[in-house]
């Protein structure tokens, strides 16, 4: 993302510099490999796993892979939005985890129904985003420090209303009374049922949000200004953009998307588990960073993030089917991330 020295670039004063004259040489091949590498690898993985384990390439298994990655992909899309403004939201994992608790608390303790709960929890996520924006945009706290503090704050906050207990029906509250509510039965399908019996609802939500966010970031003027703020904030402001508002919206989006991820987790497990969402931050950040390598864009992009999440999901699912022990999973994710980053930054176009 460092601007190239323009003196390095082909000068238009030089009659030889028009690229149309350039033969498709090594550069072109390297560029083609770089932009399709993730897809090629994904295809190779699918073939290898399908050959090694026939049960791998079934609709059911593929859908379960997508369902498994949907939460990470949705949260990762939010991370992508904050990466686009050149910042980093470290609080997404904590927002998702506390959203799981908030959803369960809303239904079991406050007795709200599914719709009220969903609205409340997304509002909670958006509010956390607003709080991050307050720290970063208004008070000028550096993004990493601000969102790290928010993460800390939320990790602690989610334990206070229940005195550190997980939330399920019949929860004994800190004041000694027993919670009277229960999980609304119409809430659970968000995480558990499938459309036409094949496509899990979380996958539908992921696909819908992916399309909306892809269009928003890549095809609208909001997206243009979003990336302009991340690329060169001074230039964006001097071009008349309200960068403070853009940044605020980015953090609100990030928080809201993380809470959607939390809602799906809550509906899948059906209770408020204090330990849920432990790995969500790392996994969603990894997906967003692997996304840099997809299409060789070398920048945050929503499509890449989704593919990055799916790639990791396919790899873990396939290896698990081939009896790779569960404790190797984090190592594998780390290896994929290192490989993707090496691909993104190492196979550079113009390394002069």
């Amino acid at each position: 993302m460092i601007p190239q020295d323009p003196a390095h670039a082909a000068s238009p004063l030089d009659p030889n510099s028009t690229t149309s004259l350039r033969l498709p040489g090594l550069d072109a091949i390297r560029e083609a490999v770089r932009s399709s590498a993730v897809f090629l690898l994904l295809a190779v993985l699918l073939i290898v796993f399908a050959v090694a384990q026939p049960a791998f390439l079934t609709v059911g298994n593929l859908m379960s892979i997508l369902q498994g990655v949907s939460v990470v992909a949705i949260i990762g899309a939010g991370v992508t939005v904050t990466l686009a403004i050149g910042e980093f939201d470290l609080s997404v994992g904590a927002v998702a985890a506390s959203s799981v608790m908030a959803a369960s608390y809303a239904m079991i303790v406050l007795g709200l129904n599914a719709t009220e709960t969903v609205v409340l929890v997304i509002a909670f996520g958006a509010l956390v985003g607003l709080f991050n924006a307050l720290l970063i945009v208004r008070l000028g706290v550096p993004d990493l420090l601000a969102t790290l503090s928010t993460m800390f704050l939320l990790t602690g906050l989610q334990l206070i209303p229940t005195a550190g207990r997980s939330i399920s029906a019949g929860l004994i509250l800190p004041d000694g009374t027993t919670a009277t509510g229960r999980v609304d039965p119409s809430f659970l399908p968000i995480g558990r049922s499938s459309l036409w019996g094949t496509v899990p609802i979380p996958v539908v939500i992921m696909a819908a949000l992916a399309v909306v966010l892809f269009v928003l970031t890549e095809k609208t003027r909001f997206g243009r200004v979003l990336f302009a703020t991340g690329g060169n904030e001074i230039a964006a402001r001097l071009a008349g953009a309200n960068t403070a508002r853009i940044k605020t919206i980015a953090y609100v989006l990030s928080g809201a998307l993380a809470s959607v991820g939390g809602i799906i987790v809550a509906a899948r497990v059906g209770r408020g588990d204090v330990s849920s969402g432990a790995s969500l931050l790392m996994d969603s950040v990894a997906a967003a960073l692997i996304g840099f390598a997809v299409l060789g864009l070398r920048r945050p992009n929503v499509f890449g993030t989704i593919i990055g999440a799916v790639f990791v999901g396919v790899l873990l699912n396939g290896l698990t089917m081939l009896n790779a022990p569960y404790y190797t999973q984090d190592f594998i994710k780390g290896a994929v991330l290192v490989g993707a980053l090496a691909l993104t930054y190492g196979v550079a176009r113009n390394r002069l």
Partner: protein, 511 residues
């Protein structure tokens, strides 16, 4: 091309200090250097002229060990010379002082620390240091060079000129025999430049060889013993004293200079912008200023005189400390760039890389996207981007301003400095504006592109243009009226009077 041009550098019995023989280097299909030759002797200042992309930077990079040539030879004191790194070049006695002087020292350390930095690194200084011992060593170092610097000041508080002095002093302390200066006066005022000239002349008298890279004829007139002109990687002209600069500039741009400038006869329109008792800073003197429709006003002054502050204030980046502004008779008090733009006041700020362009490889880096950024809301009211609209606008700008680019969606980073500046200008030409503010618009812009930009500005008389520049030559070349800013206030604001800056008068007397 004039009698002063030497057909061939005469064979001398004395071996040159540095002898570059048909040096070539290609990047892909671009020949950055194409059999360029050049020689420098001790105690000589050789100026290297060339438009952007002519190969000057590439040559410097080869000499300073950043890049290697494909073919050709560099002889240093008669021996082949191919340094592996800037440090290796420095050890051999070839030191480059770059245009950007921020990296010379560390903002929070003192000037003495900055001077001794090399000695800290290579172990010439003891492991345990005290402020007093560092200051003593630095003072000793400075004494040997004849440069005067405030040793106890924070490096971060130094101006560009002093930072350059630090860089030169360090080069000298490392026993430099060839000093390469890359656009050293690009951000210096005339007075600061004079100080640099005096130092360089003194160093030359001590036998230092200097390779001086600059666009500014004022520099070269003051300093150069010989001029070598690069174009498209080839050395296309060599000139010895007395140097025919018109011929050198023609060799540099590869075409004759435009005929005598036709100044758009000053028939100033209605008063457009008024500043009444305006103070830029709480402690600066208030001034009045009136700008008329259709006129081009240049604002000169030394670095830090408040030129950028004035333009940024008009653009709503800073509020006025006191006083008031009116625009077309209405009170004008923008709270930010967005409000200024809405009122028809637009600015291309100083240092286009920092203030106008997106980084390479990032969305928004293309010519069309660079132009469209401030106009997105108007061009795309639905919110959805249709690239045909901006590509059409960009194609029109490429045509009108003569931007040398492959297509509207080419990256701005594939363009030379002059063409990048044209893109920035095209951004603000893409919509009707009342006042165009340009802060140092000719930074890193070669003389051919500069003339194109001046012509474009002159032909657009529907608005008023304010140009801030520290170069008085530029100011007089472009403007109907020149104002001088000093300590954040305008020295002479009388309408119609072309004030001649003090520095320019001195220069003329010198010549």
């Amino acid at each position: 091309m004039g009698a002063a041009r030497l057909a061939e550098h005469p064979e001398t019995l004395v071996m040159p200090l540095l002898d570059i023989r048909s040096l070539s280097l290609s990047f892909g299909s671009t020949r950055a250097l194409d059999a360029a030759s050049l020689s420098i002797e001790a105690g000589e200042i050789v100026a290297l002229m060339g438009a952007n992309g002519a190969g000057k930077s590439t040559l410097v990079k080869i000499l300073s060990g950043v890049q290697r040539a494909d073919s050709g030879a560099v002889l240093w004191k008669g021996l082949p010379f191919a340094p592996a790194s800037p440090a290796a070049a420095g050890r051999a006695g070839v030191v480059t002082v770059h245009q950007s002087t921020d990296v010379v020292g560390i903002p929070d350390l003192t000037v003495a620390d900055a001077l001794m930095l090399d000695c800290f690194i290579d172990g010439r200084q003891p492991f345990f240091l005290s402020t007093a011992s560092v200051r003593r060593s630095a003072a000793r170092l400075l004494k040997g060079t004849g440069i005067d610097l405030p040793l106890d000041r924070r490096f971060g508080d130094l101006g560009t000129a002093d930072r350059q002095m630090v860089a030169i002093a360090r080069a000298l302390s490392n026993k430099a025999e060839l000093l390469i200066l890359d656009e050293p006066t690009a951000s210096l005022s005339s007075l600061e430049s004079q100080r640099l000239y005096a130092l360089l002349r003194a160093l030359k008298a001590q036998g230092l060889a200097i390779l001086y890279i600059s666009h500014r004829t004022a520099d070269l007139q003051a300093l150069a013993d010989r001029v070598v002109v690069l174009r498209n990687g080839r050395d296309v002209g060599r000139f010895a004293r007395p140097i025919d600069f018109d011929a050198a500039i023609e060799a540099m741009i590869g075409r004759p200079l435009p005929a005598a400038e036709t100044r758009g006869a000053a028939a100033p329109g209605k008063p457009l912008l008024h500043l009444h008792g305006a103070a830029l800073l709480p402690d600066s003197l208030p001034f009045d200023l009136t700008v008329h429709e259709g006129e081009i006003v240049a604002i000169t002054g030394v670095l830090g005189a408040g030129k950028s502050r004035l333009l940024s204030t008009l653009f709503g980046v800073y509020p006025l400390a006191s006083g008031n502004m009116t625009l077309a008779g209405m009170p004008y008090r923008p709270k930010g760039p967005a409000e200024a733009i809405a009122a028809g006041v637009v600015m291309a700020a100083e240092d286009r890389h920092r203030s106008s362009l997106m980084p390479a490889g990032w969305p928004g880096e293309s010519i069309a996207e660079t132009i469209s950024l401030p106009h997105l809301a108007r061009w795309y009211p639905s919110g959805l981007i249709d690239t045909r609209r901006e590509n059409r606008e960009a194609a029109r700008a490429i045509e009108r301003l003569g931007i040398k680019a492959r297509s509207p969606d080419a990256s701005v980073w594939s363009l030379s400095g002059g063409n990048q500046q044209k893109v920035v200008l095209a951004r603000w030409d893409a919509a009707v504006s009342r006042i165009l503010l340009l802060d140092e618009p000719f930074q890193g812009v070669d003389i051919g592109a500069r003339q194109d930009i001046i012509d474009a500005l002159r032909s657009q008389r529907g608005r008023a243009t304010l140009i801030a520049t520290s170069d008085p030559d530029e100011a007089h070349a472009v403007a109907d009226r020149v104002l001088t800013l000093s300590r954040h206030t305008i020295e002479t604001a009388a309408h119609g009077e072309i004030t001649e800056p003090q520095a320019l008068r001195e220069q003329k007397e010198d010549a």
